[in-house]
């Protein structure tokens, strides 16, 4: 038989050599693919799984907070700036109760408790110390020991910093005044308290509405009905309950009733308000700052959520763009090699060697005014960030492009693009995904560093970033550690979690580690 005859054997002469069962037995187990295998090994890594859960929690926090919080990202009350955390729910278990330790001398101590007494004196007929100390608006929540130093008496106490603001004077229009009265009627909470006779010689400070009681003329010490002052020990500050009550210094009308306002114009009134309740009248909710407030009176919780969203959004966008640009660039480099590879390597070499700080600064100087700081930061990240991804992809392509399966596909007539992206790319996907995930903590870190250093400035009503929050808390962080603690803690947590998560992915996608850890 000639060789050419083999091709021309008629069909009917052919028959199957084995008509019966095939001898290969089917696998009883399910086949495990690359990604499934990685997933199985990732699940065994407890640290990485925990990290992934923490990341999910942080993400959920940043998304859910704006939905449930009464505050907006641009909501600021400057009177309540640098206040410590206060949450009505958590204060029941003794944390986040808005209290700070204070040390007060006699006069300041009387003034602090005086806020409570003033708040108890709702109709201006006078209130006792006992009523004041038991009043819910008394800022002194816990009175500790007192001691004498250099002849002066000092009192240790814990105060609620929100109630400590006490009373304020405000100028309001008539209709505003009636609206407040209406609100008082409806809620049963008193906002407007009897007006102080600020022109009286007994008024120590005509701007500070917490001096509603009579003081010795020109002096800070209060006087009582019988004319004694703190110095004369009629006020026993260690035992206020048995002391003489404070004598009020209110304005009275002709009939001797206390006045609740002072006319300052034909339609304007000066009133004295209890700020804690006035706040509720203005905004409709009680001050409830879970993480406290920052130096500008913003709610740290909602700003923190905004900062996390910004960091994560930038990081994920950068990671995705790097994945695409770096993937294509590296694939071309690695697949074609030769001159194309050399030239493209030079280009990425130049870009990679420009210090990142310089790149960012130049982008900020050129584009921050035109497109905003965040977009120019994105440009900066993208313009040099893809290089490391590209070099990883390039290495993978060099590794796989001469494999037998690539030859086989080429023999079957697959095009270059098909070979690159349908055959080689999926094999290097594990490495590339890992490097893309590890880009995220890098971006988060750089973003916080840049905004911390002020190279990218992000503050104000539009939003903020974690770095800016930390930088603006820095000047007074020893006094108000809560302002720096929450952003710094969340930032550290995100960094650690993403690194752990990324490392776990890397190990999971690395088949040579299979069975090593067990």
């Amino acid at each position: 038989m000639k060789a050419s005859d083999i091709k021309n054997i008629p069909a009917e002469k052919l028959r199957l050599a084995n008509r019966g069962e095939l001898h290969d037995t089917k696998f009883d187990t399910k086949p495990i693919g690359y990604f499934r295998d990685a997933w199985i090994r990732f699940r065994k890594n407890r640290a990485s799984v925990t990290a992934a859960i923490i990341i999910l929690i942080i993400m959920a926090f940043s998304v859910i907070t704006p939905l449930v919080s009464p505050y907006k990202i641009n909501f600021s009350v400057t009177s309540y700036s640098k206040k410590v955390p206060k949450s009505r729910v958590l204060s029941k278990i003794g944390i986040f109760n808005g209290q700070t330790k204070r040390e007060r001398n006699d006069n300041a101590f009387v003034n602090t408790i005086g806020i409570g007494v003033g708040a108890a004196d709702m109709d201006g007929r006078g209130a006792t110390w006992e009523q004041g100390m038991e009043n819910e608006y008394n800022p002194a929540k816990h009175i500790g020991d007192s001691y004498t130093k250099e002849g002066k008496r000092y009192h240790q106490l814990k105060v609620d910093v929100y109630l400590e603001e006490g009373f304020r004077y405000f100028q309001v229009e008539d209709d505003e005044y009636f609206k407040i009265l209406e609100w008082q009627e409806k809620t049963g909470k008193q906002v407007i308290y009897p007006m102080v006779d600020t022109s009286s010689e007994y008024c120590y400070d005509s701007m500070n509405a917490n001096y509603w009681y009579k003081t010795r003329p020109g002096r800070i010490e209060p006087i009582s009905d019988t004319g004694y002052s703190v110095r004369d020990l009629k006020f026993d500050t260690d035992n206020l309950k048995d002391s003489e009550p404070l004598e009020s210094n209110y304005l009275y009308d002709k009939d001797g009733n206390p006045k609740f306002y002072q006319n300052t114009g034909s339609t304007a009134k000066k009133i004295r308000v209890l700020y804690y309740n006035y706040y509720q009248y203005l905004y409709g909710f009680e001050p409830d700052y879970l993480f406290g407030t920052d130096a500008n009176g913003y709610d740290i919780c909602i700003r923190l959520a905004g900062g996390i969203r910004l960091s994560l959004t930038i990081a994920i966008i950068v990671s995705a763009i790097n994945f695409i640009i770096g993937g294509i660039y590296g694939a071309i480099e690695g697949y074609f090699g030769g001159v194309a590879d050399m030239l493209m390597e030079r280009v990425s070499d130049v870009l990679a060697n420009i210090p990142f700080m310089v790149v960012v600064t130049l982008f900020q100087l050129h584009y921050a005014n035109k497109v905003g700081p965040v977009i120019s930061l994105l440009f900066a990240f993208v313009s040099v960030g893809w290089i490391s991804t590209a070099s990883r992809v390039r290495t993978q392509f060099y590794r796989f492009k001469n494999s037998e399966y690539v030859f086989a596909a080429r023999t079957l007539g697959a095009s270059n693009t098909r070979l690159m992206f349908a055959h080689i790319f999926p094999n290097s996907l594990g490495t590339i995904i890992t490097s893309s995930v590890l880009v995220i903590p890098g971006v988060i870190n750089s973003e916080s560093v840049l905004s911390f250093l002020g190279i990218m400035s992000l503050n104000g009503d539009q939003g903020t970033s974690l770095g800016t929050m930390i930088a603006s808390a820095q000047p007074s962080f020893t006094q108000f550690p809560h302002m720096i603690f929450f952003p710094a803690f969340v930032l550290s947590l995100m960094m650690i979690s993403f690194n752990l998560f990324g490392n776990g992915l890397r190990d999971a996608f690395n088949p040579s580690l299979r069975g090593v850890e067990d």
């Binding site: 070499d349 310089v358 916080s448 190279i455 550290s492």
Partner: protein, 338 residues
């Protein structure tokens, strides 16, 4: 040699391209106007000489010519009025270098020892403690532990000052008279003051903050390298020919694991000149990093450009020396080249 020459040539080419890009981008920024008339007059004359009204590439030609003929890198208008950027930069090098040398001298031995210890105790609790600590210190941004050390060692304990003290205060503390300190400060020869004990005490916190990251990075790297070497075949052979575990580790494993670690340390030593932007900002160190930030905030373009080029050079030289030192340290790599 041929390889070295090729690498240097490539490096110079890269540097030239980066310089060109940076120059063009900086010159395209709008120039600041000057407030006082005399300053504006000086600036106008200077800019006329530098060809500010000519096309950017001509300006670049003038810039390069000035550098090669007069070593003239431009003028600082904001930071130190009318001084040259080279002078401004080199006056900031002393604190940066001293600070970073202290940090490296502390962190290199600690980092390597921790790494070796962790590798030898692999998968025991000591290793887990060290690895967890390393993970935390590698991940957490350095400004956060800068705040932590400030909070504890300055605010709570009061052991060290929060920020670096001024040379003047240090001189007074050393018992020098006011006029003597002023004389030293004016002479510009401040190295002795920088090395003094009061300055050292005030540098403890920034040095600490700089060290944490380096210690953690080195420990992680050393552990990874050493564990790999410890499981290799020649270690088995060493044990088989009768060496004890300690002997085999010190004579064979450590030496081999140092091959990639030494270049890393060399790289760290080169990059000490760049300084850390964050640490210098937080601890008010008048160093190179602070200068870079100042040049950005005050828009002192010539200084900004010079510091940028300086950073580029350090980065390029660092990479080059790391690559070449592999060959010096490891004969196998040297042989492979030929």
């Amino acid at each position: 040699m041929k390889y070295v020459a090729k690498r240097i040539l490539l490096m110079l080419l890269t540097l030239f391209i980066i310089m060109t890009i940076s120059f063009v981008l900086v010159r395209m920024l709008p120039q600041e106007e000057f407030l006082s008339a005399s300053q504006a007059e000086t600036a106008r004359a200077r800019r006329e000489a530098l060809g500010y009204n000519k096309p950017v590439l001509v300006q670049y030609g003038i810039y390069l010519r000035n550098i090669f003929t007069k070593w003239d890198w431009g003028t600082s208008w904001k930071i130190e009025y009318l001084k040259s950027p080279t002078e401004v930069l080199f006056s900031r090098m002393t604190p940066t270098i001293i600070l970073n040398v202290y940090a490296l001298v502390i962190s290199v031995p600690i980092g390597i020892l921790l790494g070796i210890f962790a590798a030898l105790k692999k998968n025991k609790w000591q290793d887990h403690v060290i690895s967890t600590g390393v993970m935390i210190f590698v991940s957490v941004p350095s400004f956060i532990y800068a705040f932590l050390v400030q909070y504890f060692f300055y605010y709570q304990l009061g052991w060290f000052p929060a920020i670096i003290s001024s040379l003047y205060d240090a001189g007074i503390k050393m018992g020098m008279s006011q006029s003597a300190v002023t004389a030293v400060l004016h002479s510009g020869n401040t190295l002795k003051l920088w090395m003094s004990w009061p300055m050292f005490v005030s540098m403890v916190l920034p040095v600490m903050s700089l060290s944490f990251g380096t210690i953690a990075g080195l420990a992680r790297f050393t552990r990874a390298e050493l564990t790999e070497v410890l499981t290799s075949d020649f270690m088995l052979l060493a044990r088989a020919k009768g060496l004890t575990r300690a002997q085999a580790t010190t004579r064979h494993a450590l030496k081999n694991s140092m091959v990639p670690i030494l270049p890393m340390i060399i790289g760290e030593f080169i990059s000490i000149m760049a300084g850390s932007l964050i640490i210098e900002q937080i601890f008010a160190v008048p160093g190179v990093g602070k200068l870079f930030l100042q040049s950005i905030n005050l828009l002192d373009y010539d200084v900004f450009l010079f510091v940028s080029i300086f950073y580029t050079v350090i980065g390029l030289v660092g990479t080059l020396i790391i690559d070449l030192s592999y060959g010096l340290i490891d004969p196998r790599i040297r042989m492979g080249e030929k």
